[in-house]
Structures are given as structure tokens and as C-alpha cells.
């Protein structure tokens, strides 16, 4: 029997970037906020002195424990989905701060083209450019409208960067200077310049100077210690929710955090959310937390699943292509971040040093900055070189043709440990009618609730865009003087590995309730006091890492929630006709 708690203004599900930003903004505005996090409480001390590759990179210390709940996955609508059982195949953040704690820190903005991709593609190339099965659509918000929220995120997070010569307009400079330039990044930039491209340092959430953000929270200077992606920061030097928005929320006195609180349902009747039902996983006690506004701000899978389990919104049906919840599931799988690896016989780099977002890039082949008239795909991506700081277990890269084990492997893996550089193309991934989310008919979680089921397959667009990107990476590596260049092979099929956390959609935003679940404040069309915040709102995936876009949307949503708390009602006007074909 659930114990009913006192009503609060806002209950937030999830404490990552989305939940953290919403919690901070609303509690700063004077509203009483309760935030529920399924994982454990965490602070910087949890990540100090634990630079341990095996524990974090190979045993996924910071990732969701799948014994309680996982996802199921299949390629085709008529297949039986199977559970993704191991953390090696499915990495979603958990614990306070969520994926925002173990992210790498690459802090790009999506391109203006992304937000109006349908209209702009049709405008430039005609309707025929978009294949029938592709369900891309405009976001219901433009880059110019979102810019001030991006700016807010950059300043809160202290993003360290330099302007992309081909990038979209910014209202202010990056709050901190770019990261240091290492010899391998310089080699990349020189080669890119020789080829006529416009390289720059990757904007970074690893902060380059001690920085106090507008909330008064301090982020320390990055030490380039190499234990970054898949780790929490040793020094509080990475922009993450536990050193920024969570303490900012706590300082207001209006915020209560409850960890190890697993939300099972959004409670609702008559088109209004009343609160959430959750379980304290330490005691097993069930609680009902009533609130004026309910905010789902968990990872894509959880946002979708909670709506489906709570029977809110019309579930997407791929056969009729009607319904919205679960529609346009998208993301970057093994069909993105492909490129080539160069091996250098006479050059040795300090590859064991690095930081998550240390790298260089150019955007000449991003979005619609290049003419696609004669190309067999739309959109694009960044060509990137990264210097994460290779661990000793990870750095076993050998030229193709080397056996996977034995004497020759040992010799080459040791020789090339500090003599190889990888380039990749962070290409965009489009949405299709056949890629979606629903509830699995067979597999259940600890509470006997169905798992979320993913149906996802690749298309010609995916193959063609990867092929293009790999060719460009190879061209740059050649100019860099690599002795051996090995191209990545393009996968024919989705491999059901959910590795990078770039999985979005399913509760997408837009200007039409027929084709979107939330408006451009991330407010549900069907339920005015329910906001669904996070990557789940992406109608398709842009050509670059998503975090600042998720942050910007969370600031936008916070503004919307405040408006709703003041005036109530639906904040956007639905367009009558669909923006898609």
C-alpha cells in the first residue's frame, strides 16, 4: 500500500542534466521541488583517487545495473526482441547526476538546419530528396529561438572553446578558452587546413580555468588526467550536475533529493497528472508523491517507458503510422562515428594523456553546409580527432591483418600503443517509420512491469553517409602522413549495442499533436501539467554530440514550467497541418 506524501509544486524524475537543470531553475524561482533518482547519492569524493580502467571502462561501474531492468532489442517489426543482458552492450547512466557525470564533455550545438531539417531540405532539394520511409520533421523551434538557452547552458557549464569558423551565430563568446593543443591535434589541424577545411578545437565541458558560474558554483581546472569518459571527475573539473545544478538547487532550501527512488508510474486522471508512484528501493516502501507539475527528465528509455506504463498519450503503431509515444526513436549506433585509423611508424604521441573532450574537428561536412544535390544522403557530421587518454587495456590497436592474439599481436599492440590516431565522422542519424519504442510482451523488470522494446534497423542513408565520412577521414589521415590507414567497415546491420548514450526520441517535440508528443516547451499536448524533458524530445539525431542541446531544452522547459505554474494551460498553439509529408 502506497504511503501518500504531502503535495509539492514540482516532482522531477531523474537527476541528470535535464532533471538537474529543471530542479535548479524551479527551486531558484521559489518553487518546492522534489527530485527522485533511481540510483545512489554521489559526490566528487566518490570519484577521487579511483582512476581504475578495469572498474570503470571494462566493468561499467557507473552504468545501470541491468539485473533489475534492461531493454529488449530487435531489427524488424516481425522479429522477437531479446533482452540486452550485459553492461558491455547497454550503458545508461545511473546514480546522482546520471549520464551527465560520466560524459566526455564534447559541447557542440546542433546546426540551425537540424531544427528545420524537413522544411530546409524540401526548400533546397525538393520533396523527392526525402525517402518515403524517412519521418524526419522540424522541431517546432528554431536555432535562433533556442540560442539563448544554449547560451545559458554554456555559461552554467563553463564550456571551454573557440568559435567554429563555419558555426552558427553565438550571442556571446565561450566562457572559457579552448583546451590545450597537443601535437596530434596540431597535425590534424595542419592537414585539414592544407585540404582547405576549417579546423578548430572541440568545445569542451572539461573546464580550462577555475570558473565560477552564474549560480555561484565553482568548476575546477581540468588536469588532462585521462580518466574522464565513463568516469566521474577526480577534481570537480568536468561540468557535471553534481558540481553545478544539483548544489545550486540544494542551496535554495526549496529542493529535496531522494535517491534510490524508483518511479513506476505517473498518476493521472482526467487529462491531468497528479503525481508519481515510486518505490524506495532500500526499504521496499511504496510512496505516492503528489505535485502540481510532474517532470519526466530521465533517460530516453525511462521517459518513454513511464508514459507507456502509465498509459499516457497514444502509443505509436508502426502499421498505421499513427500515435506518438515511441515514435521516431533515433540515435547514433554502430552506424555513426565511423572513420579510419592511421598508424605511424616514426611518430610517437603521448596518447595516455588526455581529457574526454580534448580534440579537434571541422564542420565543413556538417548538416547542410555542403551541397547534397548529387549525394545519396542528407545531413552530415563533424570530422573529429579525440585525445581521451588511452588506458592500457584499451590501447590494443593493431593494423589490419595482425592476428587478434599471440606473438605478432603482442609485438604490434605494444609498438603501436602510442603510434596510432583515429578519425571519425559523427554523422547524423535520421528517423524512420520502422524505428520505434513500445513495451516488450515477454520480458519484465524487478516489479514485473514490462521492459521497453526497441525496434531499429539501418537504411541506405546510414550506409551512404558513413561511406562519405570514412572517405573524408582517410583523406585527412593521408595528409597527416600516416604510414598505414585502416578504414572502418560499415556495418550492414544494427548490432544491438547501446554504447554511447546517444539514444533519443520517442516523446518528440513539434508543432503538431498528430506527429509530436510535446510542444516546444516540452509540455505534453495531452496533459498540460506533465513535461517530458531530455533527449526523448529529439525528432531525429543531429550530426554531433547531444548534451548542450539537451541542456538548452531543459532551460527552455524550465521557463515553460514556470509559465505554467503562474498561468496554467497549454503553452503552445497546435498547428493544423502536419509539417511532414
Amino acid at each position: 500500500m502506497a504511503k501518500k506524501l504531502d503535495k509539492v509544486d514540482v516532482v522531477v524524475v531523474g537527476s541528470g542534466w535535464s532533471g538537474g537543470i529543471v530542479s535548479a531553475e524551479l527551486s531558484k524561482a521559489g518553487y518546492k521541488v522534489v527530485t527522485l533518482e533511481r540510483g545512489e547519492n554521489r559526490k566528487t569524493a566518490d570519484y577521487t583517487g579511483v582512476k581504475d580502467e578495469l572498474r570503470y571502462t571494462n566493468r561499467f561501474e557507473m552504468m545501470q545495473n541491468l539485473s533489475h531492468e534492461t531493454i529488449t532489442s530487435r531489427n524488424e517489426i516481425n522479429e522477437t526482441a531479446l533482452p540486452v543482458r550485459t553492461q558491455g552492450e547497454m550503458m545508461a547512466g545511473t546514480d546522482l547526476g546520471g549520464g551527465g557525470v560520466h560524459w566526455a564533455g564534447a559541447s557542440y550545438r546542433f546546426d540551425p538546419y537540424d531544427f528545420e531539417i524537413y522544411s530546409k531540405t524540401v526548400e533546397r532539394y525538393g520533396k523527392k530528396k526525402i525517402p518515403e520511409d524517412m519521418t524526419i520533421q522540424d522541431w517546432g523551434i528554431t536555432y535562433d529561438e533556442l540560442e539563448k538557452y544554449y547560451d545559458k547552458f554554456d555559461k552554467m557549464a563553463g564550456i571551454s572553446g573557440e568559435e567554429d569558423p563555419l558555426g552558427p551565430k553565438r550571442s556571446s563568446d565561450y566562457p572559457n578558452p579552448p583546451m590545450k593543443e597537443t601535437p596530434n591535434l596540431r597535425l590534424f589541424k595542419d592537414a585539414a587546413k592544407n585540404l582547405g577545411y576549417h579546423p578548430f578545437q572541440i568545445p569542451s565541458g572539461n573546464i580550462t580555468e577555475n570558473y565560477e558560474n552564474p549560480d555561484g558554483q565553482v568548476i575546477n581546472q581540468c588536469q588532462y588526467c585521462a580518466f574522464c569518459t565513463q568516469y566521474g571527475c577526480d577534481f570537480g573539473a568536468k561540468a557535471d550536475p553534481i558540481v553545478t545544478v544539483i548544489p545550486a538547487a540544494k542551496e535554495t532550501g526549496n529542493f529535496e533529493l531522494r535517491t534510490q527512488s524508483y518511479v513506476r508510474r505517473v498518476l493521472h486522471d482526467g487529462g491531468k497528472a497528479n503525481g508519481v508512484l515510486y518505490v524506495d528501493t532500500v526499504t521496499g516502501q511504496e510512496y505516492e508523491q503528489p505535485a502540481d507539475v510532474v517532470v519526466l527528465a530521465a533517460f530516453t528509455f525511462t521517459n518513454n517507458r513511464l508514459l507507456m506504463l502509465s498509459e499516457i498519450g497514444e502509443p505509436y503503431n508502426p502499421k498505421t503510422r499513427k500515435g506518438v509515444i515511441g515514435r521516431n526513436f533515433n540515435g547514433q549506433y554502430n552506424n555513426s562515428h565511423l572513420g579510419a585509423r592511421g598508424f605511424f611508424k616514426d611518430k610517437k604521441f603521448n596518447l595516455y594523456m588526455g581529457a574526454g573532450a580534448l580534440g579537434a574537428t571541422f564542420s565543413d561536412f556538417q548538416a547542410d553546409k555542403f551541397d547534397h544535390t548529387d549525394l545519396d544522403f542528407i545531413h552530415g557530421g563533424q570530422i573529429e580527432i579525440r585525445q581521451y587518454g588511452d588506458g592500457a587495456i584499451a590501447s590494443n590497436k593493431v593494423p589490419k591483418g595482425t592476428p587478434k592474439w599471440g606473438p605478432e599481436f603482442k609485438e604490434n599492440s605494444i609498438f603501436y600503443a602510442n603510434r596510432n590516431l583515429n578519425l571519425w565522422y559523427t554523422n547524423a542519424v535520421m528517423s524512420y517509420w520502422h524505428n520505434y519504442l513500445d513495451l516488450d510482451p515477454t520480458y519484465k523488470d524487478d516489479f514485473n512491469d514490462p521492459l521497453i522494446r526497441i525496434t531499429n534497423k539501418f537504411t541506405d542513408q546510414d550506409f551512404n553517409i558513413s561511406k562519405f565520412g570514412i572517405k573524408k577521414c582517410k583523406e585527412v589521415l593521408k595528409e597527416m602522413g600516416a604510414d598505414i590507414i585502416d578504414e572502418d567497415e560499415i556495418p550492414k546491420k544494427f548490432n544491438h549495442v547501446y554504447f554511447g548514450g546517444h539514444y533519443t526520441g520517442g516523446v518528440i517535440m513539434g508543432d503538431n499533436p498528430e506527429t509530436s508528443a510535446v510542444n516546444n516547451y516540452l509540455q505534453m499536448w495531452d496533459v498540460d501539467n506533465l513535461f517530458v524533458v531530455g533527449g526523448s524530445a529529439f525528432p531525429q539525431f543531429g550530426g554531433i554530440h547531444p548534451t548542450p542541446t539537451i541542456g538548452a531544452l531543459a532551460y527552455r522547459a524550465s521557463e515553460g514550467i514556470e509559465k505554467y505554474l503562474k498561468n496554467g494551460g497549454q503553452l503552445a498553439t497546435a498547428k493544423d497541418n502536419s509539417s511532414t509529408a
Partner: protein, 286 residues
């Protein structure tokens, strides 16, 4: 931060290198290595115990080359014979050579034993609920390549469409026990001798058959077991010594990997490669 870092750099050269070389010479001269593999249990035990030093600077045993490491004992594998097969197999995967020690000397078999005894070995964080659909799926789950289509033949179990990979009710510990016994049986069947007594190229032939999935195991693909063995061997060679492998950080010495450090902020722009004496978590946590 930079103070601590500078101090780290001042430490003089690594003495382990010298030990490593002399040990290798010893092994070669005394013929302990048959076909590149440390043979019978007695000699294997001698090699893994006698010359390992402890990296722990606080203990009194520093420099005492004959002190055995007390943690080098089996806690997962009950049968010594299984562990002997494991030793021989890991040494074929990562053999001793002129670069430095192989898997056995680095303690990789003990590393694996400890890993399997813990939560990872019993799949504590994996989703292990029914139904386990067997027979059609690709189980080559430990392979890190992006493209499953390239991961070797799966004979009658090949599914034209990849699926989530791990679909067996066996946990990792169970896979290892079955796999090691199967390696031994395969050696008996093919060569009429134990795996540990087979020649190096015969051991390779068996390992390759597992890698290609040509050997039938129960409830799991041989390829899956092989990839698990390969992955954990490399982990045992290169993970922090706290886990029982990478003895004396000799895996890191070979790769010129410095171990966990507070900061590279003063060195990261250097045009030259910087070689540092490795430090372990023990050093880093202080």
C-alpha cells in the same frame, strides 16, 4: 596539483625492467618454456611465485625476490587442473617475448580467477531472467568490434540478423569452467595428450578452433568463450595490479604506460614522447 605531479616525475628509473630481463633470460636458459608455454604445475608454480616482487613500497619485503605473493592462490577454480589449462592458454594468447613477460608471469591467470570469484563472474549486474532463447543467436558478446557480421562463422547457430549477444543462462564463471575443460578434451581428442602437454602450435590450433566456433560447447558458443578468455587475458596483463595481474606493473612497463596520475597539464603539449616510471593505484591513493 602540479607539485604532486613534479614529485612523481623526479623518481628515478624503474628497477623492474632489469628484473624482467634477467628473469626472461633465466627462463630461456633453463628451458622452462616448452613451445613458449610454461609447462607442468610444479614448474609453473615456481615461475609464478619465486621471482615476483611486491610493488608495495610500505612492506618490508621490497627487493626480496623470493617472497611469494600470498594473494597468488586460487579462489574460484577448485580444480588445479583447470587452472593449469588456463595458464597455458593465456600464455599462448600473450606470450613472453623480447618486449617482456607473458600472461603467466604477469599473473593474468590469478587475475581471471579473482574476477570470476566476484560479482562479474556470477553476472550480478547482468539481466539473467528467462526465457533464454538458444540456438539462433550470435553469442559472440565480448567481441568489441562494431560489426557483428565479421565475427566469424557460427555454423548452424548463425542468425542472419544479429541479436543482443549474450543469450545464455551460463554466467561467466560457468563458461570458463566448461571452456577450459573443453580445451583439454579437445587436446585429448586431437593429440592424445593433455592441453598443458601439447606443443605450442598444437595449443594454438585448438585455440583457433575455439575462436572460429568450430568446437561445440553446451549452452554457449566456443567463440564466446574464446573472446572472454582473450579479453580477460589482456585485462589481466594491463589492469591495475590491485586486481592480481600486471605484476610489478610489468605490463605497463612494456607499453610505456604510466598508470593513474593526478595531472598531465604541464606535459600534454610536449612534442616528445614522455616516458614515466609507472605508478599504481596503491601509489595514487596513498
Amino acid at each position: 596539483m602540479s607539485d604532486k605531479y613534479d614529485k612523481d616525475n623526479e623518481k628515478d628509473v624503474n628497477t623492474n625492467d632489469k628484473d624482467g630481463v634477467s628473469r626472461r633470460r633465466f627462463i630461456k636458459n633453463t628451458g622452462l618454456v616448452a613451445g613458449g608455454v610454461v609447462g607442468g604445475s610444479l614448474l609453473g608454480g615456481v615461475v609464478t611465485n619465486q621471482w615476483n616482487t611486491t610493488p608495495d613500497k610500505d612492506t618490508q619485503t621490497k627487493g626480496n625476490k623470493t617472497t611469494p605473493e600470498l594473494q597468488d592462490a586460487r579462489m574460484f577454480f577448485s580444480r588445479k587442473e583447470d587452472f593449469e589449462v588456463l595458464k597455458a592458454a593465456t600464455e599462448r594468447i600473450f606470450p613472453e617475448d623480447d618486449n617482456g613477460p607473458g600472461a603467466v608471469e604477469l599473473g593474468a591467470p590469478y587475475f581471471i580467477d579473482k574476477q570470476l570469484a566476484g560479482q562479474w563472474g556470477s553476472n550480478a549486474k547482468a539481466y539473467m531472467r528467462d526465457p533464454f532463447k538458444q540456438g539462433k543467436q550470435v553469442q559472440d558478446y565480448e567481441h568489441q568490434d562494431r560489426d557483428q557480421d565479421k565475427q566469424g562463422p557460427h555454423s548452424d547457430t548463425q542468425n542472419p540478423t544479429p541479436t543482443p549477444r549474450y543469450q545464455t543462462r551460463l554466467n561467466r564463471g560457468e563458461m570458463f569452467i566448461q571452456g577450459l575443460r573443453k580445451l583439454d578434451k579437445e587436446s585429448q581428442d586431437r593429440f592424445k595428450k593433455k592441453f598443458i602437454d601439447a606443443e605450442g602450435d598444437q595449443q594454438d590450433e585448438i585455440l583457433e578452433a575455439f575462436e572460429k566456433g568450430e568446437v561445440q560447447m553446451k549452452g554457449v558458443e566456443a567463440t564466446t568463450f574464446f573472446n572472454l578468455l582473450l579479453q580477460t587475458t589482456l585485462e589481466g596483463v594491463y589492469a591495475d595490479p590491485v586486481y592480481g595481474g600486471n605484476k610489478n606493473m610489468q605490463g605497463w612497463v612494456m607499453k610505456e604506460y604510466p598508470g593513474p596520475r593526478a595531472a598531465y597539464i604541464n606535459d600534454i603539449e610536449s612534442d616528445d614522447f614522455i616516458k614515466m616510471e609507472p605508478k599504481s593505484l596503491r601509489d595514487y591513493q596513498g
